[in-house]
Assembly symmetry: D2
Homo-oligomer: 335 residues x 4
């Protein structure tokens, strides 16, 4: 089969992760070229991975007829504009989340993609995680009957710098948005109302920057189920990523992944390894598998498993959560 | 040491459980007499356990100078009146929860007990459970630093008859009240605000009776922590009783108890036993240990570990939760 | 139902444990009297538990027509003689293990019991443990098909004084004998050959006293299965009691019991409680349940679940294991 | 850094696995060429992975000056001869286990390698497994004090065809040899004596072919520790690979790896996934990591982590085990 040629726009943390993952793990795809606002980044990654082309900017890449698809891994504020241009250039698009912080720009992307007839997949990688994908599959298979309660624990090992909140849109838009998508995915239903009980307990600087770092977020779903997400910016024991789906015929839950399955029993305690430290370790398998499905969608004319619509809906839930904190009451999600 | 003579008022499910537990497990106490509105109940329990005295009604028991303390295990609506009379009669009081469904009657009990100078303990037995007591102790010892998030999963194996909701005051007052007390216990702080996202998914008859059977309840504590309780009236796999306390230096959680620690691996799966079926099996140890501490409080002039004030505060949280469902917004707890 | 009157001969560690367990946990039985070579022991236990009769020696007890059954908890060297006399006196007998260190005396007991037509049960309490009983039951129900491999891990928290080996007969006779019985119980078959790879790694004084403290013991069963027991006199993390039965259709294994199900995750590790410390904590439930079945056998004319024949066969395996160490080769068990 | 050019001799199951693993996971190495007695195999693998050179036979490969190192993945009976020739050709050697079934040929390899001054690594991949490597590391760090007992459970999901035993040398030489190496690795000491209690319970045809399929193998180590390996050719629940190292200060054990960490609780049981099915799934990470260390040894002049001496010693233990079954007694290992 002909190799699919991919260009990666932005090779910072997540972009270079994808560059490596695709190069070493996905034989049917070639990372043909990359670009980055910081030329030294492009140089380093291209040299390490033997990538042929370095473009000065993303427009060069979009103009290259050899490129079949692009992965947009640049800063969030540039995602939507690049996606619109990429669609116009006839490139398939893998776009990191969030698509944008404002629904209007996401609508523009939806329109551009539909018009151009290209594929777009949003990087909600956690849907492809071996644990969560398994729970969703078993739930859809009816193993636990009707879904009654969704529970998501999502805690980061350490908070970002307080300044980050300004650019990121705050915790709900940069961190919890993954959990909102996961909630929709597991429930098989849209969130209709959200009440966020959020506060600042980890770092006062985060609060001074107008953001929160600890939250219990209550959810109501269209299918009648209820749910809760609990978040912290700082779990000293590492990345805590657990979910549970409780239904009329049983419950399904996923424990954390760990570096190994070794237990030590000594005079002090029975102890084992902490969870994998952060998302690079924890979700490596999902970063590969989401791209595999993106490729499959392109090569075999399937729908992408996470659409721009998923990006939009998770954004709308996140914005409702922010409003809920300000208004101190449950807020309906406006679709 | 002189045996302490106890009288038990009401020997239905919970009263006969205490009668047996005290008789067989607590050598320093004697169940001297019992009474029940159903004389056949008294007869059966007295005969099985070799109890000397059967009183025609609780007033006879209160008038018996040989009785040192009473355990009030009658129907909820009678708890407060009996407690006031028992205090006036100079008897120490172990009162099953809830003390009453109205704060006014609980205030009357508080006053009566203070005036009489007797001990009163409320039957929040779960505080004495080996798992939860351990988590509370480790939390108070500072093992996880400041408390940030409290999580309680509390699901019954099967719902009560729909009619029960009317007498019981509904799910928050008959079932979740245990969880509200547990939340206060684990947080080491009072609940200041509650938002109950509650619905009826298990049995429509419960909804028609004006009650709920499934809930996600968001809590705010005076010390700044946040929390969540999730409830269901029907977990088909048995009694699901798990808690987690997450803090600045770590997290503590308790898994369910099971009848044994056996695992079977076969062609189908790796499987083990379901949780202990219901509260009689799950909390037997706590039913004994709460009475041991009640006895210790009487014999050694200590405070009882769960006071009538605990009963009052958990009731106020439960009432706020009910109001929250009706008002569809977070409700401050009125102390 | 008429109370069964029991007399306990020897109220040291195990005898006083039974005295308490029966008094508080088994309503249908009364500990009518006790005796001990140390009169102070008898006095203390009788006073604590409110036991009516203290006998000067066991013969007085055997002569008391009110006594229905005796529990022989004296030192091992006296078990067989007392059992023979008790049978002659028409008393049912619960005899602590081992019945004796020499097969000849066990044969004498078998003869006496058969002649008198009384019940005799040997105190292989572990068969009644909730974990091991469950595995045996599931194995006999065919859940894992034919039994292929039996594995038993049995490690004590701390070694006895080196001098103890002389009186006890050594590790195989005082400690591993429980595991030999467990192996027979789980395999549902007799041990035909044993090879003990044993050494002294814990305490040189034990080696100097002619005993071993660490062993891997290979077993062959009459039904073709093979097995292994591993022993240590000193597991610093507590009492390690695990078994596995592997068969043609699956495997069954039991983890250790712990004081609670709490887990702590912090910067260092994920940790939980060590196993219950020693046999008093670990096997309390089995000490009660074995006596319940003894009583049931007496009152309802059933066979006792562990017979003197079980005592004999486990002794013969233990003696073969000792011979194996001396001969440095596998030794057939002589039945 | 200059790419290291590797040639793979034999691209059946294990050879093609290495070809893929090296191609996709190890950027610093290039699979320059392959050869196989079945030319169609070479063609298929070369085409799938884009490998440049296909050699008609291994001698062509050894004659190619571009080749830096070879991986010998051909049938066992050819390993030693090829290794001797490869050494003479100045190629570094990665040799699949076992090096040979006769010690004499292994000695010839040792001599050839020493003379040529090339690196040789034997494919004892399990030493690189995340679980077992962690236990070995913690043991060598002194976390459990002195090693007293080694336990290895190693069971295959399904037996090979009975005819396989003839070529493979039998279960001890094709399967248990991994466990013998693991025992030496974990103990940090050589096996001095072995007693194999082995039988045929899985498939009578295996017994008729003169081999065994079920075994409990008792080990004695030079450092005084004892150990046991239990094997079965057929664990219906999948590949069972667990180890435990018990020492004077604690114990370390590894559970099986599973495809995910999901648990289902329903009316029937609490269930989770079976172990990963077989060695391709279970040990994929170790197959990559062993080659990484082989490359590191070549490029940085280090010793290979598993030497031909390890291959020899594990073979000698396996041969002693076979002799033990025939002789029905413990057999010293002849070094």
């Amino acid at each position: 089969m002909k190799l699919l040629n991919i260009g990666i726009i932005g090779v910072g943390r997540i972009g270079s992760l994808h560059a490596k993952s695709v190069t070493y793990n996905i034989p049917s795809v070639k990372v043909l070229g990359i670009t980055d606002v910081n030329a030294a980044n492009s140089q380093a990654v291209a040299s390490e991975l033997g990538i042929e082309k370095i473009y000065d900017d993303y427009r060069q890449m979009l103009a290259d007829p050899e490129i079949d698809a692009v992965m947009i891994c640049s800063s969030t504020d540039t995602h939507a504009d690049i996606a619109v241009e990429a669609a116009a250039a006839g490139k398939h698009i893998f776009c990191e989340k969030p698509v944008d912080l404002t629904p209007e720009k996401v609508y523009a992307v939806i329109e551009a993609v539909q018009k151009a007839g290209v594929k777009l997949q949003v990087g909600f990688n956690r849907r492809f995680d071996h644990n969560f994908a398994r729970i969703e599959q078993m739930t859809r298979n009816g193993e636990i009957g009707d879904v009654h309660i969704i529970k998501i624990t999502s805690r980061d090992p350490a908070p970002p710098p307080a300044e980050y909140s300004a650019v990121s849109g705050g915790m709900f838009l940069d961190m919890t948005i993954h959990d909102f998508d996961m909630a929709r995915f597991l429930a098989g239903s849209e969130v209709t109302e959200v009440y966020a009980n959020a506060t600042c307990l980890v770092d006062p600087a985060i609060g001074e920057a107008g953001d929160v770092d600890t939250a219990v977020i209550s959810l109501t779903f269209a299918n009648g189920a209820v749910g809760v997400i609990d978040n912290s910016r700082k779990a000293v024991y590492g990345y805590d990523q657990r979910v549970e789906v409780f239904g009329s015929k049983g419950t399904l839950y996923a424990q954390n992944d760990t570096p190994n399955n070794v237990t030590l029993m000594n005079e002090c305690s029975v102890s084992s390894e902490k969870p994998l430290y952060f998302f690079l370790e924890r979700y490596m398998q999902s970063f590969r598998d989401e791209v595999l499905q993106f490729i499959d969608a392109i090569q075999n004319g399937k729908n992408t498993p996470t659409s721009v619509d998923d990006g939009l809906k998770s954004l709308l839930v996140a914005l409702a959560a922010k409003e809920s904190v300000a208004a101190k009451r449950p807020v309906p999600v406006k679709y």
